[in-house]
Every structure is written in structure tokens, then in C-alpha cells.
């Protein structure tokens, strides 16, 4: 089945970020969203460890390991950046000051529940700031492949893995579609033209509802 690359998903998610927004990007794949910020828009990136106004990674060899993001990667500070302590950083999150959090997911339920921190009860559990982010940010979006590596649906009726948060996800950007969570249902907003409705539903673990405004999911060539 045709599908978007990670870059394609990240690009699509980036297009919805409003000018002037304060945004937190989850560790790993979600960080890629920052690369596709539309020209002329000003977005301020927050990092849990006490940075607002994070810029891109520095050149190799130029890293300052006291300027890192939540994933412990070296970043830079843009003009207008600020530094603060961890309680203030999460006051921003918990207090509803972050406009948007973009996270990865193991599963998203049609109720908006998110599971993204632990598969079953295996291994060393590690939660980080995800639970704070999904309850604190004004809007939570997910970027993810539409299915797992083994082909299992990630959009499901109920999560089978431990929850990160209940009813917290507003929109999911997948490799095949853009799906909103609305009133306990998945509402399909966009899908790749090459993927039929039946094929999409077949790889989705819960009913996809379609309203009048279904659009084609398109990203720039080469992504």
C-alpha cells in the first residue's frame, strides 16, 4: 500500500501549527515536525528540561551539552529564548500554556485515549514527561505510522497497552490519513488518494467516520 514517509507525516502535521504557537515535540520522530515549519510562521518550541525558543541542532562539533532537548540531543537557542527550572517548565505544561503537543503513539483509541509509553509490562518502565504533556497541553496531536511494524492497527477501539492519558488526543497524522477524535469516534479528515476507503478501514482497528469535508492527504513531492 502506498504510504507517506516519516518526513511526509511530519510535514503534514507541521502545516496545522498556527502562527505564534508554543509547541512541545515528543522525543524521537515527533522532533522531525520542526523541520517543516512553514516559512514566515513563528513557532516557539518548548523543551521539558527548561527551554523555550529551541532552535535546530548545531553543527557537529559545535554541541553544547548544556543546551539539549528532552531527548538529550544537542540543540541551539534562538533569539528570544529563555531558560527556567523544571517546576516552571512543567507549570507551563500543566497550566495549559503549551498550545500543542505532538507525540508518537503505540495506540490511539477512538475515545482519544493514548498509549505511548510502555508495551505491556515488559522491561524497565520509563514515562518521562508524556503523561504531563497529554493532560496539560491545550491540544494533543499524534504522528505515527498507520500500523505497527507487524501490520497491526494503531488506531483502535480501546488501547491494549498501558495508557498515557485518557481522552486526550485531538488529531492523528498517520502514514495514510489524518483522523480526528470527536465525541468518542474517529472522524476521517484526509486520506491518500491512492488508498481506498475499504483498504484504509481494513488497517484501522475502529470505525472511521466520514463527514462532508473529507479531503485528499497530499504532501510535497520528494518527502
Amino acid at each position: 500500500m502506498e504510504k507517506l514517509s516519516s518526513a511526509g507525516i511530519a510535514w503534514r502535521a507541521a502545516q496545522d501549527i498556527p502562527d505564534g504557537a508554543y509547541v512541545n515535540l515528543g522525543i524521537g520522530f515527533p522532533e522531525m515536525v520542526a523541520r517543516f515549519q512553514p516559512e514566515g510562521q513563528h513557532v516557539t518550541y518548548h523543551s521539558e528540561n527548561g527551554i523555550l525558543g529551541m532552535g535546530p541542532a548545531p553543527q557537529e562539533g559545535e554541541e553544547d551539552w548544556d543546551v539539549i532537548n528532552a531527548g538529550k540531543k544537542a540543540v541551539t537557542l534562538l533569539p528570544g529564548a529563555s531558560i527556567f527550572h523544571h517546576a516552571d517548565s512543567f507549570a507551563m505544561v500543566r497550566g495549559g500554556h503549551i498550545d500543542l503537543a505532538v507525540l508518537g503513539a503505540y495506540e490511539v483509541a477512538e475515545t482519544g485515549d493514548l498509549a505511548n509509553w510502555r508495551i505491556g509490562s515488559r522491561g524497565v518502565p520509563a514515562v518521562g514527561g508524556a503523561m504531563d504533556m497529554v493532560t496539560g497541553a491545550r491540544r494533543v496531536a499524534v504522528v505515527t505510522d498507520h500500523v505497527t511494524k507487524t501490520g497491526a492497527p494503531k488506531l483502535v477501539e480501546r488501547c491494549s497497552n498501558p495508557l498515557t492519558g485518557v481522552g486526550c488526543v485531538a488529531r492523528v497524522y498517520t502514514s495514510l490519513a489524518v483522523v480526528d477524535v470527536a465525541d468518542g469516534r474517529f472522524v476521517l479528515r484526509e486520506k491518500l488518494a491512492a488508498v481506498s476507503m475499504e483498504a484504509l478501514q481494513a488497517v484501522t482497528g475502529a470505525k472511521l467516520h466520514v463527514e462532508r469535508d473529507l479531503r485528499e492527504l497530499r504532501v510535497p513531492e520528494g518527502l
Binding site: 527551554i51 528570544g80 500543566r94 497550566g95
Partner: protein
């Protein structure tokens, strides 16, 4: 993203009737005098905004700042810790006439309730006030053998604060102990308007020197030679 506003008049133009307005300052230090006087002027010209709830540590001195707002009759309620001052008449008159409601809150509880409002903490426990008349109606819980009161967060529609430097992204510094309530009020309000002595470009305030990050500030207006309320009152030149 340029949060600068051209005038104090424009800065206070959207404050609505019945709004909860946090006003930074302790005594005269940190009071955003020009913003308050623009608000009074707007009220005198238009009758709005009225019925305001004002949150400040005090309740005004003399005839300026919060006292001017009280005298104008635009305040319905004051939430504060210490509604007394060297010249407390403006509040006293209204209070004794039953024209303004008072919610008296211990100073540290006031600060923590504001901080909780900004930090998304709907309630917390404090030993302050246990066994006193200010504990009335508040749930009591025992932790590790000691009694504590449960206190609720305090949020506002608007915070008016006075900064020293402010950049176009809303990052602020404050002058000495004029800092007091401003950083937490900026966190607790939906809309925070800062008057600053100098409006600068992003990057002119070092990231480590920013006291209030711009995420908490929605508007910045430059007031190059701001009145200091205490000095203003002592000078006798009352607005």
C-alpha cells in the same frame, strides 16, 4: 510574533466588565501605574470596564493606581492580604459603605494560589490559617500528623504587570523587588499585559536572565519613564 502594543490605551482596551484582574505590585513597588490610569480613563470615558475583581496584595494608597480605580467605582471585589496602607481611604470608604466586597487571603496563600492557577494545580494544602477564622469553609486534611487547609487555585482573565525590559516575544525582567507578584500573576492570567520601561528585540535579554518567559505574556507596551507609585504619592503630584 510581535506582542508589542503601541499605547497603554490600546493595551487595556479589551478588558471586559466583570473581569478578574490581577495587578502586580506590593505597596507601591511594581504597580503598573500607567496601565491602571489608562484603565481608569477608559472607565471614566465609557463606563467600562466595571464590576472588576482585583487581585493584589493591597487595596490601594492615596488616590492613584488601585485607589484611583476604587474611587472611580469600577471595582466590585478585592482579593488581597492587606487592605490597609498609609492612606487607605479609597478602599475604606467603599468597604464601609458595602460597595466593595473583600476576600481576605493570607499573603503566602495568596501567592501560592496564584502560582497554582498558573501551574495547573487546582488545589493544594497549606498549614497557614489552620485554626483561625480564615479557615472557615475550607476542608482540613491531616498529613504526617499535622493539619492543613485545602486551598484552591486563583486564576484571572487579565494580569497587568510592570517590567523593566520586555522583548517583542514577551520575555520580561523586573526592577529589583518590584518583581514581587508579577511573575506568578503573569502565569495565572489568560491575558497578561506588561508595561515595560524599555521594549527590546528578542535576543537582547539573555536567556538565563529572563524572569518571565514570553509564553506567559500576551502584550507588551513601552512606558519609558514610568511613575513609581510610592514616589508619586510622596511627591504630592497625584494623577
Amino acid at each position: 510574533m510581535d506582542k508589542s502594543i503601541d499605547s497603554v490605551e490600546a493595551a487595556v482596551a479589551d478588558i471586559e466588565d466583570g473581569a478578574v484582574v490581577m495587578i502586580a505590585g506590593f505597596g507601591g513597588s511594581g504597580i503598573p501605574v500607567e496601565l491602571l490610569h489608562a484603565l481608569v480613563a477608559r472607565f471614566r470615558a465609557t463606563g467600562h470596564p466595571t464590576g472588576l475583581t482585583v487581585v493584589n496584595n493591597n487595596a490601594g494608597t492615596g488616590a492613584v493606581g488601585i485607589a484611583a480605580m476604587l474611587d472611580a467605582g469600577m471595582i466590585a471585589k478585592v482579593i488581597c492580604s492587606f487592605p490597609r496602607s498609609s492612606q487607605p481611604q479609597a478602599f475604606q470608604r467603599r468597604y464601609e459603605a458595602g460597595e466593595v466586597e473583600l476576600e481576605l487571603v493570607p499573603q503566602g496563600t495568596l501567592a501560592e494560589r496564584i502560582r497554582a492557577g498558573g501551574a495547573g494545580i487546582p488545589a493544594f494544602y497549606t498549614a497557614t490559617g489552620v485554626g483561625t477564622e480564615l479557615a472557615a469553609g475550607k476542608p482540613v486534611e491531616t498529613f504526617d500528623g499535622r493539619d492543613y487547609l485545602r486551598e484552591r487555585w486563583l486564576k484571572a482573565d487579565v494580569a497587568l504587570v510592570k517590567g523593566a525590559l520586555g522583548d517583542r516575544h514577551g520575555n520580561l525582567t523586573y526592577r529589583l523587588a518590584a518583581r514581587n507578584f508579577a511573575p506568578i500573576m503573569a502565569m495565572a492570567a489568560t491575558t497578561t499585559i506588561a508595561q515595560v520601561t524599555r521594549l527590546v528585540e528578542p535576543g537582547e535579554i539573555e536567556p538565563e536572565q529572563v524572569v518571565t518567559p514570553g509564553i506567559f505574556v500576551q502584550g507588551v507596551v513601552e512606558v519609558p519613564e514610568p511613575a513609581q507609585e510610592e514616589a508619586l504619592i510622596r511627591s504630592g503630584e497625584v494623577a
